[in-house]
Symmetry: none
Subunit: 157 residues, 2 copies
DNA sequence: ATCCTAAATGCATATTTATGCATCATGAAT
DNA sequence: ATTCATGATGCATAAATATGCATTTAGGAT
């Protein structure tokens, strides 16, 4: 039983494809070695808060909450600022502690919240420190990958 | 036979309400004097490129392209928001992560601190997130019970 | 007016998604 | 270890949504 892994795969598939039905998505997952039913997939999608939005090519496709708000925070100038604002990322237990330049923490936390990553339960920002709490079962590597994705330009960890 | 007028009414209804099914929407429209069937409504919604997105209260609701981002906060009256301000509670390890509407975290954390529960070591509040750290050995269920007590009527998870 | 065409709609039904219930797995409490 | 509670899942089916086809409607063109 590996629900977390399956959910992450579902996220990946939705992000990288235009999927217009659960049947279609299920087929992909089965092809990738997962074995379960549409009923479970329906529940998975609800967990991920996936929605269906209009698409020119395929009528309607699934999307994840993060994909919508994403571009709001993804201004190029902002990216540079954020990258430079981050001083370090360290891990402890299922948390990451991000040190930033004074005053940058809340802005960067906003950015991290913006991607609405399944792996991240939430963030709390002070003035120059952010605490990122990972969902249970998420590995340090996975968390780190999500964070570096959220913060373009990469980080020297 | 005034499709345009009907479409505008549909837009108005979707913008001002949280509608979770065509049946529900159709009922409203019929009550407003329109007379047609679900089949037509389905076609109307496709025309408007309406989509369905996740909603905390009603599961999934219809939305129109463009007003995607403001859906979470629309239609809330700010009076009973202390409880309504809570969007979700998740658990990881011996912590709970409470997501709130922006700005409400500290107020709600204050309330949680107020009950001085033995089970809770402390809370940290950002702008829209609260981290609740449980005493060692406290089960997730116990923590959840304490929190639901601290926040009457606030949580359904 | 008559005819023609394209859009709009209803009806019946297909397709898609959600869910009640039973079962099995997992982990905590005793 | 045993009992209990909780969560995850499948199965069967309900609920929700989309659609093929026939019919009607609204404008034009003659």
């Amino acid at each position: 039983m590996n629900r977390t892994k399956r959910l992450l795969e579902i996220i990946r598939l939705i992000k990288n494809n235009r999927i217009s039905s659960q049947e279609e998505l299920l087929e992909m997952l089965v092809k990738n070695g997962y074995n379960f039913t549409q009923a479970t997939l329906s529940r998975d999608l609800r967990l991920l808060k996936a929605g269906k939005i209009s698409d020119n090519e395929k009528g309607y496709i699934y999307m994840l909450p993060g994909e919508i708000t994403d571009n709001i925070f993804s201004g190029e100038n902002l990216d540079d600022t954020i990258t430079r604002g981050i001083l370090s990322i360290d891990y402890s237990g299922n948390m990451a502690v991000i040190k930033t330049m004074p005053g940058f923490a809340s802005g960067i936390a906003l950015r991290i919240d913006g991607i609405k990553a399944f792996e991240i339960l939430g963030t709390i920002a002070g003035d120059d420190t952010i605490l990122v709490i990972a969902r249970e079962g998420i590995s340090r590597q996975a968390l780190h990958r999500v964070l570096t994705t959220a913060i373009p330009g990469g980080v020297k960890s």
